[in-house]
């Protein structure tokens, strides 16, 4: 069944702030095996011009994906979340995410399409810090695969 097109353009209220911690960044960098000292050593980060340790480029997805998930799980949208796969991901960074940031995500549904029974939803997440500064934009394309015929 085709998804409700009236959801296109809908923007959801900002999420509650996520506080980025040094140890969470360290944990993430270790999980992806990345030893760049900018992620763990404040002095190394400062030498590169950063106010504190910065997060790896894909770190912010943990925050934006949760926000996008809340959007596409809206029961009124009718997406079968159990069949959802992640198709595309893109980020545009105004500055790197850094320890001490308190980040909110404002999600907008940018597009809804049905192709060969697959439902495709594009969500844009605008990430701002506590001062209202724009930090990063994340575009997430999710596809709910068509259910197999019985």
């Amino acid at each position: 069944m085709a998804l409700d097109q009236s959801f296109v353009g809908r923007t959801y209220p900002p999420t509650t702030p996520y506080e980025v911690g040094r140890e969470k960044i360290r944990e993430f960098a270790e999980a992806v095996g990345d030893t760049n000292p900018a992620y763990t050593d404040p002095q190394a980060a400062a030498a590169l011009g950063h106010a504190d340790v910065i997060a790896p480029p894909t770190f912010v997805f943990s925050i934006t994906f949760k926000a996008a998930g809340d959007v596409v799980r809206d029961p009124q949208l009718g997406l079968d979340y159990s069949r959802v796969v992640h198709r595309d991901q893109k980020f545009a960074y105004m500055r790197p995410v850094r320890a001490g940031d308190r980040l909110t995500v404002t999600s907008t549904i940018e597009g809804i399409k049905s192709l060969a029974g697959n439902d495709i939803v594009d969500v844009r997440g605008e990430v701002h810090d506590e001062a209202g500064e724009h930090v990063v934009t994340a575009w997430t394309k999710l596809v709910a695969r068509a259910a197999e015929e019985a």
Binding site: K24, E27, F28, E30, A31, V32, G33, D34, N36, A38, Y39, A47, L48, G49, H50, I54, P56, P57, T58, F61, S62, F65, K66, V85, H86, R87, D88, Q89, K90, F91, A92, Y93, R95, P96, W139
Partner: protein, 142 residues
């Protein structure tokens, strides 16, 4: 932001040092915890097969995180990355052994842009298959 590669030193076609990243089941468990993505297709073989996958697969975002390291290791400052996008074209299938699988990533400068920025196109291959499509990063050089 202090990149260690100068804009003047690169041209279209400049190759970045390629890298291979091993992925095991343990890697995926660790990434699940760090990222908060506990989808069972990334750790539960039975569940993965039930939804039609050949085996447990890596998080697309894990592969994306590995691939950009070819850029951030090259440029030195991860904060120099201005844009980064990928399409997840094939899953990275991770066998249940201590060797796991390799994700091999290479990259080259595809375009010189304004403001000391360049576009790097990345290729990520696992088990002979391209696992990322349209994998591109824009990075600001010194």
């Amino acid at each position: 932001m202090t990149a260690k590669v100068s804009y003047e030193s690169v041209e279209v076609g400049t190759e970045l040092p390629a890298q291979s990243f091993p992925v095991t089941r343990a890697t995926l468990v660790q990434y699940a915890g760090a990222s908060g993505d506990f989808n069972p297709i990334h750790w539960n073989e039975k569940f993965a097969r039930e939804v039609g996958l050949p085996d447990v697969i890596a998080h697309g975002m894990f592969t994306m995180a590995e691939a950009i390291r070819v850029v951030t290791d090259w440029v030195g400052d991860p904060g120099a990355v201005v844009e980064y996008g990928v399409r997840f074209t094939k899953p990275v299938v991770v066998p249940n052994d201590d060797k796991g699988v390799l994700v091999e990533v290479s990259g080259k400068v595809a375009a010189l842009l304004d403001d000391n920025q360049v576009r790097v196109d990345l290729t990520a291959v696992s088990d002979g298959q391209k696992v990322l499509g349209m994998s591109r990063a824009v990075v600001r050089l010194a």
